[in-house]
Subunit: 411 residues, 2 copies
């Protein structure tokens, strides 16, 4: 009998259910005797002993559903060491749950923070295998993360569609659209806007990532330069752009000054750029925060992302059966064209403390766009469509069974 625990931790994203399905279906197929314990709501389920024994059927019809059927939660690593209200130690409780259930392995799907906790549990002697999961795509040692390809596709398509909109209205008045894209520390997602290249009805665009310091003056100059030869510009900006001292745009003096112009109050990065264009160029401008729709638009999922997520889940099972522990499953790209990627294992410990930034050498010299190397990287990841079937005008998702925890172990 193989007993496997599984949990999803951190912000949800697409392809998370697909990866779990890969793990589960493969376990049920390969092992005649297996029990899968789904811990609910991330590490909290492990701490409080809240889980559900999952059946093959629980993983059916979930390929195209956004979010995670197990539920998730964010638990910053610094809180792991803080005792619970009753004084008990979170780590001890997690180990306790693992042992009480007599688990052979714990599979964790998560991003940077989740890997720190996973690594700690491994150090305490638990068998832990991890799967990368983050729309930010900033985990090291893997070519990409499940979930990323789908968001990149959504951003590319949104950029193209917005360009047709701005273009329709731009001949009689100059217009600038600013798309604010998620990604607090790395610019992978924003860079995907460049996939609109050649498909955006000839509306030029500018792309600003966290990896190069951002200057509001230079931004205004860039927009002016584009506007010298056209009436419309599309700007994609990472929410986390910052200056040479690392101050986020919204913390900068210069942007605060804009309030003096008497315009509406600022909030995010996109709004700040909007106000700057209005104040310093004076043309029509609109900012669009793609917001949570980026990570939940499952009708725009990339088939490559979904397929690879299932596959990495399946490979995780092989590694688990082999008894590997302290490893993260990872993609290793062999070639761009034709796209070929292997699944390997890497040391989870190496993942825990690093962020993989967008390569600076893929950003152009002016710092306002990406190079063709970036497109070579992105293109394979957004190939194919994996929309759910539609019924009566909207997506038809399999009726999700509420994965409710069974009575708590630890109470």
């Amino acid at each position: 009998m193989l007993r496997v625990g599984m949990l999803t931790s951190g912000g949800d994203c697409q392809a998370l259910n697909a990866a779990m399905r890969g793990v589960a279906k493969s376990l049920f197929n390969q092992c005649s005797e297996v029990e899968i314990y789904g811990f609910t709501d991330g590490y909290k389920g492990l701490i409080y002993g809240e889980y559900r024994l999952l059946k093959n059927d629980d993983f059916s019809g979930i390929l195209n559903i956004g979010g995670t059927i197990l539920g998730s939660s964010r638990m910053p690593f610094k809180y792991i060491g803080v005792p619970l209200e009753d004084g008990s130690d979170k780590i001890a409780r997690m180990i306790d749950t693992y042992k009480k259930l007599n688990l052979d392995c714990l599979v964790v799907l998560g991003g940077n923070g989740s890997h720190k906790t996973a690594n700690l549990l491994r150090e305490k002697g638990l068998n832990v295998l991890t799967l990368p999961k983050t729309i930010d795509n900033d985990l090291p040692l893997t070519d990409c993360c499940p979930g990323f390809g789908s968001v990149a596709k959504y951003i590319a398509v949104s950029t193209i569609e917005a360009s047709f909109d701005v273009r329709s209205m731009c001949r009689t008045s100059t217009r600038v659209f600013v798309l604010e894209v998620m990604g607090r520390h790395a610019g992978w997602l924003t860079a995907a806007a460049a996939l609109a290249e050649g498909k955006n009805g000839n509306v030029p665009y500018l792309v600003y990532l966290e990896e190069k310091p951002f200057s509001l003056d230079r931004f205004i100059d860039d927009v002016k330069e584009k506007l010298a030869s056209t009436n419309a510009v599309l700007v994609a900006v990472s929410e986390g752009v910052h200056d040479t001292e690392g101050r986020f745009l919204c913390e900068q003096e210069e942007s605060r000054e804009l309030d003096v112009f008497g315009h509406t109050k600022l909030s995010g990065t996109g709004k700040i750029l909007e106000e700057a264009v209005r104040a310093k160029i004076g043309c029509k401008v609109r900012s669009i925060e793609l917001n949570v729709m980026q990570r939940c638009a499952s009708h725009m999922a990339s088939k490559t992302d979904v397929d690879e997520s299932v596959k990495i889940g399946e490979e995780a099972v092989k590694a688990a059966v082999k008894g590997e522990t302290g490893k993260m499953m990872a993609f290793k790209r062999i070639s761009d064209r034709p796209y070929f990627s292997e699944i390997v294992t890497v040391d989870a410990k190496e993942v825990a403390n690093k962020e993989r930034l967008f390569p600076k050498e893929w950003i152009n010299n002016q710092g306002n766009n990406v190079t063709a190397f970036a497109l070579d990287y992105f293109l394979p990841l957004i190939q194919g469509e994996s929309a759910p079937p539609f019924a009566n005008g909207t997506p038809r998702y399999a009726k999700l069974k509420r994965i409710k925890p069974e009575p708590k172990l630890c109470k």
Copy 2:
């Protein structure tokens, strides 16, 4: 020889190109000798005599492209009477262009404001036929407007997808999502969020429209009531909700007070509700402004919307050939199930000065949702998908020829 002028006026939307295609293809099919003059950038093209003689080919491959191939502009009716810089009268110039080109008819695609100008031109003796066009769906005398069904579909799908996202994270902490939807005066679009009914993973939702006065206190009570039995609530709110005196939410004293709590600066309606929930309930909350993606997400176009738009364009030609003038083409719904709708002509004059609000009787007594009658209305309009084909990961649109005006007539 039939000589037809055509222009699109006001904000762009989906299905605008489809409706023009319906007009053009039908003209080329029915009339052995026809010339179509496409005025660029709305009424401005007519004023400045900027047009292009369009060929059958110009209307190929545009069914799924958002925006308008002719370009558009907003020209509020009050500016129509204001002379141009050279002192010339806009109306006289429009009539002049019409006569110089010896037009038999002018086809205008536009919303409320555009109909006022169209009506004026008709009063001056021009033959004018109009097609309804607005995502707001607030034109009277027609069951719906081309473009609306596609946006309604986008909003329904977004609401469903956001619900799966919020649901994934809601068990360990209470969460509220606020979706701010377009529509400054009428709640049609926001009401479409109710189409998520039964498909949203059991996340309850609240819907607030302009048609009932909005109270921030009652809103907070509504959210609290929902949160009594669940951990997640989805709120869809029209950007233009206002109090009993008609003041927009962002103009209200109460919302300004929220700044006292020291939270980030407010901007739109969604942000105000977000801050109110944070301050008065204290749970996790996020606001999402669907923004321009609503009207330009052509990958989410409703097939019914696109098909009906082509058809209303074709019917406009029949009316034009019959010599009708001063008419707007309109949909008259015969039945919901099965859905059946006729195309009729109505007096454009009657359209010019009215807004069709969302029926108050379709809003529930608490003013926080819509009734089943609304769903009966919406459902037929969002049926079917009309996405463009995808190539290499993103939509493949026909290469748009830039419709550039020929040398100005009036200079």
